[in-house]
């Protein structure tokens, strides 16, 4: 995997392909006030985020420069546009988002210049022209009930399900962006009236899941960069999430972890313990069961993340978290409040979140709570 030579060879091959962007990346960056130094710094942090040695930084910079050779088609299904918002609008213009813009000139419902009929034509053309070469990013779940009639798109009133299958057929790689396209998301919560599912369930191809509600821009761009670098999908865990981003639990690098270990917990919002920034486990934080890098990467250019603002993690990068992690303000181990979803997901819980590590953590929490001299 760490073969620089192989990666360089691939970049050279990509360089020979015609670029889609109207001007080179260096110009785009310069126009937005970024220096070459900023760009190399970005490449360095991207290398770290992808779990590669720092010596990879120059190669990543080169890969970013040829990233317009692999067009990206971005499809919206049943969703709230929050993922695009996270990536393209709210946090921009970071270098991440500029690069994403640079790659993704072909088709994106929300940001592309064309609209209406014109946009639909662009889409059809892109799918044909870049057959077998484009990266398909999907935001939103696929409603399957009543043949997918709960979501129709475009002038022909094509169902989202059909459009997705058509786009996936000739895609070089498929990336599910966000909790909805990965595992169904909020649409698929009990009672799931539209029969929404993660896209991997309706496609017969490998799908890399980048879950989160929303996922951070670093994880989205990182996954695409990986595909460009290696010409293959990144190493994934058992839920097809890239290991570089979802390899560790929120809990492992949490800033409040020290308080957890010391048995110092918040037991009521607004209390002295909350003001002291103690551990939120007893307020229902699902950090111990959730694999993601929020505690390391944070959001909005490293400004903050939910736990820093005093609200526990809701487990949004885990499958079926809307049902299996509820109620969100109670620890799972408590079973104080059985929501309807508890019955609905009894079978889901077993395979998803209550891993051996999770159970061990819950036990640890109980022990440290007993040991806490304040109690």
């Amino acid at each position: 995997m760490l073969d620089v030579k192989k990666v360089k060879q691939r970049i050279e091959e990509l360089r020979k392909l015609p670029g889609i962007a109207s001007k080179p990346l260096s110009e785009v960056l310069e126009e937005n006030g970024f220096t070459r130094r900023d760009f190399l710094k970005w490449a360095g942090t991207m290398a770290v985020a992808l779990g590669l040695p720092a010596s990879f930084a120059p190669v990543i910079a080169e890969a970013a420069e040829v990233s317009d050779r692999l067009p990206v088609i971005w499809l919206h299904l049943a969703e709230c546009t929050g993922c695009s918002e996270s990536l393209l609008r709210t946090a921009s213009p970071t270098i991440d988002t500029l690069i994403f813009n640079y790659i993704n000139l072909e088709y994106h419902d929300t940001i592309m210049a064309a609209a209406g009929w014109q946009a639909e034509e662009n889409y059809e053309e892109a799918v044909k022209k870049y057959k077998g070469r484009y990266i398909l990013c999907v935001e939103g779940a696929a409603p399957t009930k009543d043949n997918g009639d709960f979501l129709t798109i475009g002038p022909e009133a094509e169902t989202g399900l059909h459009k997705l299958k058509r786009a996936a057929k000739d895609a070089a790689a498929i990336i599910a962006v966000g909790a909805c396209s990965s595992f169904g998301g909020i649409q698929a919560a009990y009672p799931n009236p539209t029969g929404a599912v993660g896209i991997y369930k309706v496609l017969d191809k490998m799908v890399v899941n980048v879950p989160g509600c929303p996922p951070s821009d670093r994880n989205i761009v990182g996954t695409i960069m990986y595909v460009i670098l290696y010409g293959q999908l990144p190493a994934v865990d058992n839920f097809n999430r890239p290991k570089f981003a979802y390899g560790m639990r929120i809990h492992d690098l949490c800033e409040r972890r020290g308080h957890f270990d010391a048995g110092e917990f918040v037991e009521e919002f607004g209390s002295q313990e909350a003001m002291n920034g103690f551990c939120l486990y007893k307020m229902g934080c699902k950090g111990p069961y959730t694999f993601n890098n929020c505690s390391r990467e944070r959001f909005n250019q490293h400004t903050s993340w939910p736990v820093q603002a005093g609200h526990g993690c809701i487990g949004c990068s885990e499958p079926d978290f809307w049902d299996s992690m509820a109620p969100y303000e109670e620890p799972l181990a408590n079973h104080k409040f059985e929501s309807v979803s508890a019955d609905a997901t009894a079978d889901k819980v077993g395979i998803t979140i209550l891993t051996i590590a999770g159970v061990a953590i819950a036990a640890h929490a109980a022990i440290s709570a007993i040991k806490n001299p304040k109690e």
Binding site: C80, G82, E268, F299, N300, E329, F337, V340
Partner: protein, 383 residues
């Protein structure tokens, strides 16, 4: 008569606009939304706190308004009073969401329907503003820092200083978009060659929320939902269609009133009210941030566990209504009415909704422009 079906994209989702026209002049229009998710269904039988996590996901653009409306509805149901500090923090994050929404709408959604523009201008604001929200709420979009009883965060004086500093910086910068006197180069440029009388509507306004500096002029009791021709529902006030949003809630502003008096509720007035509102909100936020007393409590624990309540906020696009029925901490029923439903209802030719009326008797080539000046959110409608 020719019927033209037009697909409207880039509105955080998709809508179908059916135009009935004669010689390029629109005689009547129908608006259809063909998506459905069923958020209200997911809420039933869950703990009421879950609503604070689920409801922001109604929309990735104005999710924060949904969060505050949820918290308010539950507080109304359980009879909770929150502290002044929690109130101010909520006002700041909600105000900031409106600000960044309007800037992005202007440059990213509306402007390109007529003229080319460098839409990166909008990002300079949205990036910084999202950061201010993140200081208070943890992240943007989709956070759950507001809970029934208050907020979860405990800010320090340093945080307040940072927020104030950024607010001032953004306010100064915004003067280049439209200044406090109402002069805007970009707006004048947009209307260069286009009549400012374009797209007059029904001239009936409704404000239900009383957050920020807005004043309610109606009673939610008279709001009714009825079935429509597609997945969305019509919303009427006293059996009439009304317009909600920035124009409706800023008509008591002197400058906006002057423009309203000359152009009535044309799209020029509507767009002006929207982008000028940003200045007014900035001014209001800079005032209230000095009133924060960080020694106050962030949260007060609810005592009741059953009741019914209504939460209303003035969201970026107008009055947003959440209704909740709680029984023994469980949600029995939940209902959401979003502002786009008011503005984009499907009426008849004789009794059109705000968006339909503004399209009627105008040239077809402006259809996209007029339609988008309502800042449509298809995703909210199809919740």
């Amino acid at each position: 008569m020719i019927v033209n079906k037009k697909i409207i994209t880039k509105i955080e989702g998709e809508a179908t606009l059916k135009l009935y026209k004669k010689n390029e002049i629109i005689e009547f229009a129908q608006i259809e939304f063909w998506q459905y998710r069923g958020i209200e269904e997911f809420l039933k039988n869950r703990h009421y706190l879950d609503a604070c996590v689920i409801n922001p996901r109604v929309c990735g653009i104005c999710g924060h308004s949904h969060l505050i409306a949820t918290a308010k509805a539950i507080e109304d149901a359980l009879n909770i009073e929150i502290t002044e500090k929690a109130k101010i923090l909520r006002e700041i994050t909600l105000g900031l969401e409106i600000i960044q929404n309007h800037i992005k709408w202007f440059y990213l959604t509306l402007y390109p329907t007529i003229k080319k523009i460098d839409f990166f201008k909008a990002f300079e604001f949205s990036k910084e503003i999202a950061k201010i929200i993140a200081i208070i709420a943890g992240q943007f979009p989709h956070n759950s820092y507001a809970i029934p009883g208050g907020v979860t965060c405990d800010l320090t004086n340093l945080d307040i200083l940072k927020i104030k500093n950024s607010l001032k910086k953004m306010f100064d910068k915004y003067q280049n978009v439209i200044d406090i006197k109402g002069d805007s180069k970009d707006l004048e440029n947009l209307f260069n060659g286009i009549s400012k009388e374009l797209g007059k509507s029904i001239n009936k306004f409704l404000v239900l929320g009383d957050n920020l500096y807005f004043k309610s002029n109606g009673d939610v009791e008279f709001v009714k939902e009825e079935q429509s021709i597609s997945f969305n529902k019509n919303v009427l006030y006293k059996d009439e269609f009304v317009e909600v949003g920035p124009l409706a809630r800023n008509l008591n502003n002197k400058l906006i009133k002057v423009i309203y008096n000359s152009y009535k509720d044309s799209i020029y007035t509507r767009i002006f009210a929207r982008i000028y509102e940003v200045n007014l909100i900035f001014k209001y936020l800079l005032k209230i941030i000095d009133e924060i007393n960080i020694n106050e409590k962030s949260y007060i624990k609810p005592k009741n566990c059953s009741g019914t309540g209504i939460g209303i906020v003035e969201a970026p696009r107008g009055s947003l209504i959440h209704k909740v029925e709680i029984e023994n901490e469980k949600i029995k029923n939940y209902e959401i009415i979003v502002p786009t439903q008011f503005n984009l209802s499907n009426g008849t030719k004789n009794k059109p909704s705000a968006a339909q009326a503004s399209l009627m008797n105008e040239n077809e080539k402006f259809a996209d422009f007029i339609f988008k000046c309502f800042d449509i959110c298809a995703i909210c409608v199809s919740h």
